[in-house]
Symmetry: C2
Subunit: 392 residues, 2 copies
C-alpha cells in the first residue's frame, strides 16, 4: 500500500524544482506577470493542449520542437500570444534566446488577451530578473493569474510500501473561458517521481477527461489551454497506481478550484448524471447542464427551478423520457418519473440546498448504465461585468 499526504510548496514541493514570479510591467501596479519553473536536472515532459483550431503561438512552438527534454518553462500572463501567426513563434524564439546558459530547450506558455503581439522587450528585461535558486511557488502562482481572484496550488507527498517517497506539485490558473472541451487554463505540474515519459503521458490523458475536461465556467474553449507535467526523476521512487491517484487528486482539485473561481461564480455545482444510454450520452447531458445559461442563472438566483434542468436534459440530444427521469438537489428529490408533486414543503427543502456554496444536482435518466460527473458554477452580474470589458 501507499500513502498520499497533502503538503505545502506547490510546484517547488518536488525535489530539484525552483520557481518564482516577478513583474515585467505587463500588468498595472507592478503586479507579478511573469514566472518560471526550473529544474536543476533536465526533465521529461508530458502535455495536453487545447482543441481550439486557433492554437496560440506557444503551443505551436512547443509542438514544432518534436520530442525533447527541458529544464525551464517561462510563463507570462496578460497576453496570450494567440492569432499572431508566424511572428508569434518568432517572438518566443527571440525571448528564449536571451535566457542564460544552463537553460536547456526552454519552452513558453502565455495567457491573456488574444490578437496582440507579445511586448518582447519587456519580457526580455523581465527574464533578467529571474533568480534560478529561488523557490517561491506562491509568487509564481500569482504571476500566472488573469481574472483569477485567488491563486491555485497543491502538492502531495507519496510514500510507497518500501518507504521510498516521491512528490507531485502543481499550480494552475483559470477562471473564465472554461469549457468541457478542455478548460481554459494553464496548469504546470512537477514531479521527482521516476516515471517514464510514455506512462506519464498516458496517465495525464486518462485523468484529464474526468477533471479539467469535466469543468465548465462559460462553455468557451480558449486558444492557449495547456497542462504540462515535468518529471526529473530525482526521488528515484515510483509506483503507477500511487502516481496516478495523486495526479488525479491534484488535477481534480485544481479543476474544481477553477470552477469555484469562475468569473463571478458564487457556487460550485457537481452534476452527477446516471442511467443514460451510454457514458458518452451521460457526458453530453452533464456538460449541457453545466453550460446552460438558464440553469446557471437559476443557480445564481438560488431558485430550485428543476423545470430548467429537465428541459436542458431534453434539449441535450441524449435519449431521455419524462416518465423515466429523476432529479434531485443533494438528497432532495424534486422530480421522480412524473409521480411526485412539487409542493411548498419540497420547494422549501430544495431552496435550502440551493443556498449552499457547494451542492450536487443528480439526474438519473432511467434508461441505461451510462454515467458522467461534471463541475459547473452559476452565472451572475459579476461575470457580465468582468467580460463586458476585459481588455481595459
Amino acid at each position: 500500500m501507499y500513502k498520499l499526504k497533502k503538503i505545502e510548496g506547490g510546484v517547488c514541493a518536488s525535489e530539484g524544482f525552483y520557481a518564482d514570479g516577478i513583474s515585467a510591467g505587463l500588468k498595472a501596479n507592478n503586479a507579478k506577470d511573469m514566472a518560471f519553473v526550473y529544474s536543476d536536472v533536465v526533465c521529461d515532459i508530458a502535455a495536453t493542449f487545447t482543441t481550439n483550431k486557433m492554437t496560440a503561438a506557444p503551443i505551436r512552438h512547443f509542438k514544432k520542437k518534436g520530442d525533447f527534454q527541458t529544464n525551464f518553462v517561462l510563463i507570462n500572463s496578460k497576453n496570450a500570444n494567440a492569432m499572431t501567426g508566424e511572428a508569434g513563434i518568432k517572438d518566443i524564439e527571440e525571448i528564449l534566446a536571451t535566457l542564460p546558459q544552463g537553460i536547456i530547450n526552454p519552452v513558453m506558455s502565455s495567457t491573456g488577451v488574444i490578437g496582440v503581439r507579445l511586448p518582447k522587450e519587456k519580457l526580455i528585461e523581465g527574464a533578467k530578473l529571474f533568480n534560478l535558486t529561488r523557490q517561491e511557488p506562491n509568487a509564481a502562482a500569482q504571476a500566472i493569474m488573469t481574472t483569477d481572484t485567488f491563486s491555485k496550488q497543491i502538492a502531495y507527498e507519496v510514500t510507497l510500501e518500501d518507504k521510498t517517497v516521491f512528490h507531485i506539485g502543481a499550480m494552475a490558473k483559470g477562471a473564465g473561458m472554461i469549457n468541457p472541451a478542455m478548460a481554459t487554463m494553464l496548469c504546470f505540474i512537477t514531479t521527482d517521481a521516476k516515471v517514464n515519459k510514455e506512462e506519464m503521458q498516458e496517465i495525464i490523458n486518462e485523468n484529464v477527461q474526468t477533471t479539467f475536461n469535466a469543468a465548465s465556467v462559460d462553455g468557451d474553449t480558449s486558444t492557449n489551454d495547456t497542462v504540462m507535467l515535468l518529471s526529473n526523476g530525482k526521488s528515484g521512487a515510483y509506483n503507477r497506481a500511487a502516481f496516478s491517484e495523486a495526479l488525479y487528486e491534484i488535477m481534480r482539485f485544481l479543476a474544481r478550484q477553477m470552477v469555484k473561481d469562475g468569473e463571478g461564480a458564487t457556487k460550485l455545482v457537481t452534476y452527477e448524471v446516471s442511467g443514460a444510454k451510454s457514458d458518452s450520452e451521460a457526458e453530453t447531458v452533464a456538460k449541457a447542464l453545466s453550460n446552460s445559461l438558464l440553469v446557471k442563472t437559476a443557480l445564481y438566483g438560488e431558485d430550485p427551478n428543476w423545470g430548467r434542468v429537465a428541459s436542458t436534459v431534453g434539449a441535450s440530444g441524449a435519449e431521455a423520457d419524462e416518465s423515466l427521469l429523476t432529479i434531485s438537489f443533494n438528497d432532495v428529490c424534486v422530480y421522480e418519473k412524473g409521480s411526485l408533486y412539487f409542493d411548498a414543503e419540497m420547494e422549501k427543502k430544495a431552496s435550502a440546498v440551493m443556498k449552499l456554496d457547494e451542492f450536487s444536482i443528480y439526474c438519473d435518466l432511467g434508461i441505461g448504465n451510462g454515467k458522467f460527473t461534471a463541475f459547473g458554477c452559476d452565472l451572475g452580474h459579476k461575470y457580465v461585468e468582468i467580460n463586458a470589458d476585459y481588455r481595459t
Copy 2:
C-alpha cells in the same frame, strides 16, 4: 409577377380569421394571458415543433390527434404544461371539452413555467369570456407574451399576376430560452391562400431553417416551441413562389424581432459566415458565435474584441486556420489572414460599429464555399436579473 405589401391586422389580416386575448387570472394585475385564433371555416394545419425530448403536453396532444383539420387554437401564457405527464394531456382534453359548439377539433398551445399543472378551472372560466366574432389581433399577441417586452405581429397582402389576392398574418412570442435548434417560441400564422396541406408543410420546413432555427438568445431549447400555420383557403388565390417568399419574410421578421427582444438584449447582431468547408460547417460556426458567452458579453460591453470571435471560430469544431481567416465588423476589417495590424485607428472604427443597435459580424474562413447566416444578441445584466428569478 406578384407583389408583396405589408399590412396591419396580424393574424386577423387573413379573411375569415378572428382572434382576441383576455385575462384568465394567470398573470398578475389582470394582464391578458389567454388567447384564441378562430377561423369561420375549417383549416388545414402545418406545424413544426421543438426537438426537445421533454415535449410539452400540448405538443403531445396535437401529435396524438394524427391527421386532422381544425378551426380553433387556444393559447395560454404563464404555464407551459410541460413535465406534467399524461395528466397534462388530460387537462387539455378537459379544458377543450368545455368549448362551445361549432368549434371543431380544437388544439392548445402553452408557454411559461415548466413542471406545474395547468390551473384548469381558471382556463375553463377564461374560455367562457371568448367572443368568436372579435378581431383583436393586438390583444391576442399581448396575451401570449411571457418575458417579451413588446408584442410581435406582421401581415402581408400578396397580389398575384392575375390580380387575385391572398393574405398571410402572424403573431409570435419569444424572448429567452431561444436557441438555434428551434427558437423557444410560439408562432401562429394564418392564411386565406388556397395552398394544399403538403405544400404548406414543405414551405414551413424550408423556411424555418434560415429563420427561427438561425436565431439565438441563450442557446437553450424549450419544451414548447411551436410554429403553426392555419389555412382556410377563403381567398381562392395561390402561387407557390409568392406564398413561400411572403412566409419567409414573415418568419424572418418575427425571428429577428425575438432576438431583438432577447432578455436584456441591447443589440441585434447578424453573423454572416462564409468560406467554410460546407454549409453545415458554416452553420456550426455561425451558431457557435451567436451562442458564445464571451462574444455576447463583449457585444454588451461594445468592445471590439475580435480575438474572442477568432477563438470561438477555432473552438467550434469546424475546419479553420488563422492564416486564412478574415473578420469584419460591418465594413471594418479587423483581422485579415494575420496580415493586418489592429491599431488605434482601426479600434476606433470598430468601436463605432459596436455602438450600433444592429450590425453584422462577417467571418470568412477562406477554405470552401459554405455559407450560413445566424442572428444573435448581446448578454447583459438584465438577462441575469430576468432569469435569476423568473418564477416569482
